[in-house]
């Protein structure tokens, strides 16, 4: 059922061709004290593609996303982004390079409305200074209106018109996930990192989310890196999959190749030693 819904969604839009490597992770190692979260992992992400990171619990998937996003700084390895070597960088700097993300345990601004959450997502594009804002001069007002127009487009795109003024803390889980995606999209990112965007959702919500992810990729050409547990979803929507287990890379390639990879099957089903 899921496959059919997703297939029809993806066929309705025209995808942009997958391009050059936009992000290259080379020999990344990350340890917390004595715990080796990632060991010597290399993989790349190409422009306009949907790249999935999968693996059992504790495999290091979220750690990898946090490395890309600048939350964690790996002890070893190099990151190339848009052709340039990236130096150690804080998350807000990474964001300013066009990388937006969502979190495994929804991290919205709970006290704020949906609209304000999305507007906050455009923070990097707000150019007027703090003193000018304090006086709420003409330029500031025009800027707010322009951003508001863009945010309204995203609200329409995600079909959340009816909740735009609701404080997000009051929304059900599935909608909060959608709003979080909206906040990331509001930044008009070139790369989107999604940490388990469909976790805890029912089938219908998952279908909606798949459709949004595919549409974002097709319409805006956004490169997407996602972590997901639902194998059906991963196999359906991703172009390439990297598989982690105990902090090591055990597979990398097109969904079908990965599916038939013996190491991956062992990691998921367990193997007798």
């Amino acid at each position: 059922m899921m496959t059919a819904a997703v297939a029809s969604a993806s066929s309705s839009t025209h995808r942009q061709n997958i391009g050059e490597v936009i992000l290259a992770m080379e020999n990344i190692s990350l340890a917390f004290g004595g715990v080796q979260a990632l060991s010597d992992i290399s993989f790349d992400v190409r422009e306009h593609e949907i790249r999935a990171i999968i693996g059992p619990n504790g495999a290091g998937k979220s750690s990898m996303l946090n490395v890309i996003n600048g939350v964690y700084h790996p002890q070893q390895g190099t990151i190339f982004f848009k052709g340039e070597k990236r130096h150690q960088m804080d998350p807000h700097k990474v964001a300013s390079q066009g990388v937006a993300r969502t979190f495994q345990n929804i991290a919205l601004f709970k006290g704020m409305s949906v609209l304000d959450n999305l507007m906050a997502g455009r923070n990097l594009m707000m150019k007027t200074g703090i003193l000018q804002q304090a006086l709420y001069w003409g330029a500031t007002q025009r800027e707010e209106l322009a951003h508001r127009a863009k945010v309204e487009e995203i609200i329409t795109f995600l079909e959340i018109e009816s909740i735009r003024k609701t404080p997000v803390g009051q929304l059900p889980y599935g909608l909060q996930k959608r709003v979080e995606l909206g906040r990331a999209l509001a930044a008009e990112p070139s790369m989107l990192l999604l940490d388990e965007p469909m976790a805890g959702m029912n089938v219908e919500e998952k279908q909606d989310m798949c459709r949004f992810v595919l549409d974002v990729n097709a319409e805006f050409g956004t490169t997407i890196v996602l972590i997901e547990h639902d194998m059906g979803v991963v196999m359906d929507i991703s172009d390439r999959v990297v598989v982690l287990d105990y902090g090591k890379k055990i597979g990398d390639g097109a969904p079908n190749d990965v599916r038939n990879n013996q190491a991956v099957i062992d990691a998921y089903l367990g193997v007798q030693h």
Partner: protein
Amino acid sequence: MGPFIEVVLGGLMAGVLYSLVALGFVLIYKASGVFNFAQGAMVLLAALAFARFSEVMPMPVAFVLAALLMVGAAFVIERMVLRHLVNQEGIILFLATFGITYFIEGFGPQVFGDDIYRIDLGMPKEPKIVLESMFDGGILINLEDFIAAGIAAALVTFLAIFFQKTATGRALRAVADDHQAAQSVGIPLNRIWVIVWSVSGFVALVAGMIWGSKLGVQFSLVLIALKAIPVVILGGFTSVPGAIVGGLIIGVGEKIAEVYLGPIIGGGIENWFAYVLALGFLLFRPEGLFGERRIERV
């Protein structure tokens, strides 16, 4: 009836000033989760600076300079203290603000002198008697207090609008809600902290000027500023309206207690009434009047 209204009015005026100091606490707590014990010391520092600057230069220049000094203090505090304590426990940040408090309380008077200094804002001092036709003997009011209340109200309104309507205000609220998410949308925490500490410093300056013009600038300002702690407990740590309403309740409450209960159980109630009231709130409504109630799922 006349004397009662006088007592209430007097309490409201004191309450406005408590609110101003409490507002500084709330701003910082909201944006960084730090309970800033140093807010009282910041009031003292700002008032001292303004008093001494205005001795040698026109008042507007002294005001701007004192405001810049508070912004400078915010920069130094962020760089020397907060930046190194990111992600530490709340109690550690709280204790760090103790350090800041005693540093400012020692350093401020060392630089600016430890006498009692006058601030003369040119506000009318002589009391007025109004509503003589309605009450026997009329009601005694202080015009200075009304002007002070007006200034405080204007400041609070301005801050409320700034927080609700502007991009920076939104960023401040975002940081208050979730540090990690705020960073992920490109909000730099360090800059936001400098901004809130600066705004709190500015609020401290306004509070210090008004207190100072009533009582003179002296070390005991720090003790008065401590009253802001029961105020935020009453109003809720995260609520700007709570700081205002809490300040007014405590201001009025302690004056009424002093005047009407004082003769029965002995004077000096004013000194501890606020703290007992806060204790009662902690027992029965720990989130305060307007604070967010945290519902944890088990």
